[in-house]
Amino acid sequence: MAGPGGGSSDVQWCFSQVKGAIDDDVAEADIISTVEFNHTGELLATGDKGGRVVIFQQEPESKNQPQCRGEYNVYSTFQSHEPEFDYLKSLEIEEKINKIRWLPQKNAAQFLLSTNDKTIKLWKISERDKRPEGYNLKEEDGRYRDPNTVTSLRVPVFRPMDLMVEASPRRVFANAHTYHINSISVNSDCETYLSADDLRINLWHLEITDRSFNIVDIKPANMEELTEVITAAEFHPNQCNTFVYSSSKGTIRMCDMRASALCDKHAKLFEEPEDPNNRSFFSEIISSISDVKFSHSGRYMMTRDYLSVKIWDLNMETRPVETYQVHEYLRSKLCSLYENDCIFDKFECCWNGNDSVVMTGSYNNFFRMFDRGYRQDMTLEASRENSKPRSVLKPRKVSTGGKRKKDEISVDSLDFNKKILHTAWHPLDNIIAVATTNNLYIFQEKLN
């Protein structure tokens, strides 16, 4: 009944792998800050607060174990960004990787964009599995031979060698953002991409690093009048002229680059009307959108705010077509969540391959899945306790009422330091990557 990536009612999730250190003492550099599958799902990239990128590659399915899809093993790792200090502005620039976006593969090499707060870099990841041998003027160890000692000539040949994966920075896109970059998105034309900071969005050509076009600028003439910032931006998956950006006030603007060079005037404004009676000090803070993602079909988009996930039909601006509560029980904890700054946590969200299920993270290392078709939701936990190979994950439940059933956890026992902000879903299969603070969990659908 369930097709690939089908409803969560049929899918059972099993633990597959966990990457990272076991010890509780987490170094800041090891905090995972982004997770992204490439377009085939063969590669899985992570970025961390220390500016490092680790890429995992899926092993081809083995005949010995047809029950499970290939495991992900380290393919390449490199230092993408380094800490900097802008002396002119007295600004510390973190090396933390905010986002990674893969380019669709065009040749043997793989390309990805990684960005910190200020600089975007295009990395080329290529394989080398042969090396030339038999030079006339060089020894095998690289030392040069005295030409006078050469008595005969030979033709150098390529011989196989152990696979070496090299990452090299091909482009550095710098100095285009005054504020902190929160998003990058590759256009479906595969030639351009956008980068968004708190107040501006720039359009780049992948080949050109010394120029960038500003396409959105919401900086007010007087900064005292600042009321909202850009929180996320993304290009439409197949309309190269269309992109959206979300704001801290809970609105999403869709822009058409054909209309004008500067897209300050939106083509569409998506906003759910608010009940003025329910307005509180927290209303605006919790309505701030932390992530926006188009569906693979391009027909819908999903937004994540502090307490919910909303699905919008691009043809309807007045309200979302679906709203899913992630952790509504936190509404009565907003005061303490404000005090410990958790209310400002930026959760991401993602679609499954056929747009039938959406997923997002929560606290206590819980993550949530919402099946749009079956109207079911599920809470799962990423923890070392459930990390026996191929063990099925048991759904978790947070008790909201007075009575707590066995196996349920009460709201007050939730660990708010264990947040799952970043999750990713394989583009084709039911394989998900879930990042806790410093560990990466990979879960797979139970195959019989």
């Binding site: 380290v74 230092q79 973190e94 909202e228 329910n278 509180s280 000090f281």
Partner: protein, 112 residues
Amino acid sequence: MSEEVEGTRISEEQQEMEDKVISPEKEEEAKLKARYPNLGAKPGGSDFLRKRLQKGQKYFDSGDYNMAKAKMKNKQLPSAPTEKTEITGDHIPTPQDLPQRKTSIVASKLAG
């Protein structure tokens, strides 16, 4: 007609009390206002945004830097910031306090 108006006025108070019971958000807001009476009247607006835009800024200007240095002579440790509305001030660290910003040469533990 006037009876209805009076009726509304009385029930407004009731409504406020009911709000506190009905809306958990408003309850939380009341809690917050009780703990931080100085919290700006403008909710969620410019203060948060300005703090967000200024993330990473170490010194506002050289005057700021020198003030911080002077205060360091008097105090041993800078006071931990708890004020939610403060954007810049005397809790700015001095060069001696700034940790050495070096790259993590150590490989990521995910690759281990």
